[in-house]
């Protein structure tokens, strides 16, 4: 070991140095303290925890602090949070949300001494997320602006894929945008190491090399091969998500808002045409394709997106290609002719800025986010630990390797609909009680939940249903889409008391941009990957 020399760096005596540098009692030199940040109020709150806006006292920068919730301490620090942190610390790209710091809040003296410290993830403050921006009726993207966002998104994605990372939850809500026009990919809670070749210019991605869990990607952004239960998937799954996001930016709303996995497939066939041996070779031999005989149709992409021009349609076709083996990769997509046609992409600094919306409360978490389809749930289904076989030996950099197991089998049986309740039966009349799909044990120790019902939903919440109805009707009157998803909103509703009136008001509040990290309810079990 390099023994330090007797003289100290700053030339003082060792004793002075030691005194100056002695650690304060019970300090942790590694993490910042919450006192290093000046809290500026909550950005969001929900069952997932809290996101605060804050200013760093050291650098003056605006940041977002995301609290890591520890519900069940039986297993210690939440494993998904640990992995997300570990991965984020390895990534560094302008279009990937940066984890700047971890901050710790020690319980104050007066409170229970046995309380554990609370950890926060510190990321730069971003003014909006794409989903929120698109929901804001006063926001309209120009084509040159969409191109700018798309280039940034693809650059971020190329970086991830170059580094063998699958994001596995690509969607508008996970894309953060600030008022400098910078787009960043966020939320790596489902990300994992990818074992296979990285995308190269002019080469198709081809076949996957090994199996992963199929329980990833939020449904509206889930590619057909995942819906047909291909386990040996590739970075092409993220590219499909980019295609959905692109369509969403053009169209203003999610373009494939399926109500169930089966319905999602139907919507995909509607858009891209029903699968054939030419358009999607091998689809029949996928586990989900065997018993499927979709009505033959050509696909209405052309007519549905006619107004956005042939360039946009061409890019959409490449990104949303049914054949995952030849779907365009991020490298090639960046060179797509669409980006070289007029109007040329704007530079980020040319983009319009929008009023940031960071008022605290639940109302902003009420709408679209809450209506998103349910959780991708990981879990290498039904296999024992390390069944994927890639983790033996010294492959220590694969922090995400081969996870599988314990609870993975939960959703095995049954058709696609069993995986998640579809809400379609609720379009008329009050919703029935939401299913209790949360597992009973430690899994909700997760620091956040993905698109799932909070644990306190369930029996005995009748009043919520009543208060919910008026707003629902109003929503219908307003001609909003996604009515069928609306019942999920009840999860954010304040309980009983004043909630009816307030909820109505909330429904009218359409300001939805929010930032920076908003987690939907997600529930990830620790063995999911």
């Amino acid at each position: 070991m390099d023994r330090p020399s007797e003289s100290t760096p700053d030339g003082t005596s060792p004793r002075t140095f030691a005194l100056n540098h002695s650690r304060p009692k019970s300090s942790f030199q590694g993490c910042s303290r919450i006192a290093d940040y000046e809290l500026q109020g909550k950005l969001g709150e929900g069952t997932f925890g809290e996101v605060h806006r804050a200013r760093s006292r050291k650098t003056g920068a605006l940041v977002a602090l995301k609290k890591i919730i520890m519900h069940h301490e039986k297993d210690g620090f939440p494993i998904t949070a640990l992995r997300e942190i570990k991965l984020l610390k390895l990534l560094s790209h302008p279009n990937i949300l940066r984890l700047e710091d971890m901050a710790v809040e020690h319980p104050t003296r007066q409170t229970d001494k046995r309380k554990k410290p609370i950890m926060y993830m510190v990321t730069p403050y971003m003014d909006h997320d794409l989903s929120g921006l698109l929901d804001n009726p006063s926001v309209h993207f120009k084509e040159a602006q969409i191109k700018c966002y798309m280039l940034q998104l693809l650059q971020g994605l190329r970086y991830l894929h170059d580094n063998h990372v699958l994001h596995r939850d690509m969607k508008a809500a996970n894309l953060l945008i600030n008022n400098k026009g910078i787009l960043q990919i966020a939320d790596f809670g489902l990300a994992r190491h990818y074992d296979g070749p990285t995308p190269r210019a002019g080469h198709v991605v081809g076949e996957g090399r090994r199996d992963y869990t199929g329980l990833v990607v939020t449904r509206w952004y889930r590619p057909p091969e995942l819906l047909l239960q291909l386990r040996r998937y590739t970075p092409a799954i993220d590219v499909w998500g980019v295609g959905c996001v692109f369509g969403e930016m053009l169209f203003g709303k999610p373009i494939l808002a399926g109500e169930s996995d089966a319905h999602q497939l139907e919507l995909i066939w509607d858009l891209m045409g029903s699968p054939t041996d030419e358009t999607m070779p091998g689809w029949k031999s996928l586990p989900g394709g065997e018993h499927l005989s979709p009505r033959s149709r050509p696909g209405n992409l052309q007519s549905r997106f006619r107004e956005y021009g042939s360039g946009a349609i061409a890019l959409l076709k490449d990104l949303l290609k049914l054949d995952w083996k030849t779907r365009i990769n991020a490298v090639d997509a960046l060179q797509h002719p669409y980006f070289k046609k007029e109007p040329l992409p704007m530079e980020p600094h040319q983009l319009p800025t929008y009023e940031e919306s960071h008022e605290l409360d639940r109302r902003k978490f009420h709408d679209r986010k809450a209506a998103l389809p349910p959780a991708p749930k990981g879990g290498t289904v039904g296999l024992g630990p390390d069944a994927n076989g890639a983790t033996a030996g010294f492959n220590s950099n694969d922090a995400y390797g081969g996870r599988s197991g314990a609870n993975g089998g939960r959703f095995r049986g049954g058709g696609p609909d069993e995986r998640r309740p579809a809400w379609r039966d609720r379009e008329r009349g009050p919703p029935s009680r939401p299913p209790q799909d949360r597992p009973p044990n430690w899994e909700d120790a997760d620091h956040r939940d993905r698109d799932r019902a909070p644990r306190n939903r369930g029996p005995g919440r009748g009043p919520d249903i009543d208060t919910y109805i008026p707003s629902y009707r109003q929503e219908e009157a307003g001609g909003r889409r996604r009515d069928d998803d609306r019942p999920r909103d009840d999860r954010r509703r304040p309980t009983s008391k004043d909630s009816g009136r307030r909820y109505d008001r909330e429904r009218r509040t359409r300001s939805r941009s929010r930032s920076p990290i908003h987690d939907r309810n997600r529930d990830r079990d620790m063995y999911r990957r």
Binding site: M1, A18, G76, F77, I79, L91, M102, M119, F394
Partner: protein, 307 residues
């Protein structure tokens, strides 16, 4: 991806601070370090974790003791917390219950880790844990897990030199030796270096460790190394290589000396209470890290003398 081949290393000021604010005389400190790393290795074996996981636990332990006195917590608890944490991050998570059982066994009279000359008789009562035992252990371990994460600022990524060493050997054409022989010897040096109280894994990058281990293995086997300064191909300079070669070779002799200096060493689990007794015997006081105020000048002087 930023640094899959490099690790965060201890800064000189961190090392200086560790040396100057140490609560233990250096020889005791080193003995504690060595014993705890051995314990971690043993636990890794019993938990059926691959060495790639256990070795990371060794490195995390070294990192966390960089900023905290070993006397702040029971050694075996810190060891358990690191291995629990590392296994959780990796492909083979182990439950707190498994970890608890393994450490209970290892610290029992029945433990095979501390051979008493005769074969340990299997007496489950020696390591049976009551629910209360387990609960207490789990609370300590999870508390330490959080503490370690904080003190490391969540830098849990550890890059090990082992895969690099094999790659280097391949480029050197295994020094014209039988592949398994030279690889095994190299890996042995790397694994032994994990136990070195010089904390080599947090003061040197994996490429340097791998190169030094290859150099040592080549010397042991009498293999012919390239004439020119081949280590420079692996980004290691002569000085660093020389230091590491000596450091790795000295671990064995140091262990011998340790056994002479502490006659009872290795006969049972090294506990804080044992260390405290030793310090009392020497007429030294010890605190637990956040210790009672003492004459700090004396303390610093003593540390400097003992060096």
């Amino acid at each position: 991806m930023s640094s899959l081949l490099a690790n965060p290393l201890a800064t000189p000021s961190q090392l200086y601070r560790r040396a100057s604010s140490a609560t233990l005389p250096r020889d005791v400190d080193e003995a504690v370090y060595f014993a705890t790393q051995c314990l971690t290795q043993a636990a890794g074996r019993l938990l059926q974790l691959p060495q790639s996981v256990t070795a990371q636990a060794n490195v995390l332990l070294a990192r966390s003791w960089l900023g905290e006195s070993p006397m702040a917590h029971e050694f075996s608890d810190v060891s358990a917390a690191t291995i629990y944490l590392v296994s959780k991050l990796g492909p083979l998570p182990r439950s707190p219950r498994d970890v608890s059982n393994v450490y209970a066994y290892l610290s029992s009279a029945n433990s095979a880790l501390f051979p008493s000359g005769e074969l340990p008789k299997d007496d489950p009562r020696a390591y049976y844990q009551t629910e209360a035992d387990y609960y207490a252990f789990q609370q300590r371990m999870l508390g330490l897990e959080a503490r370690i994460l904080q003190s490391l600022s969540f830098d849990t990524q550890v890059s090990l030199p082992h895969p690099l060493a094999i790659t280097y050997l391949q480029t050197l054409d295994f020094l014209s030796q039988p592949r398994t022989t030279v690889s095994l010897r190299t890996i042995q040096y790397l694994n032994t270096a994990l136990l070195s109280p010089q904390m080599l894994y947090i003061t040197h990058q994996p490429n340097a460790l791998a190169t030094a281990a290859i150099y040592n293995a080549a010397r042991d086997l009498g293999a012919k190394m390239p004439e020119h300064e081949w280590w420079e191909v692996f980004d290691v300079d002569r000085e660093e290589l020389g230091f590491l070669v000596v450091a790795m070779r000295s671990v064995e002799g140091w262990m011998q000396k340790l056994k002479e200096d502490f006659p009872g060493f290795g006969n049972n689990m090294l506990k804080r209470s044992v260390v405290e007794d030793e310090l009392h015997r020497r007429g030294l006081q010890v605190g637990n890290g956040d210790n009672a105020p003492r004459d700090e000048e004396d303390e610093v002087m003593r540390m400097m003398d003992s060096r």
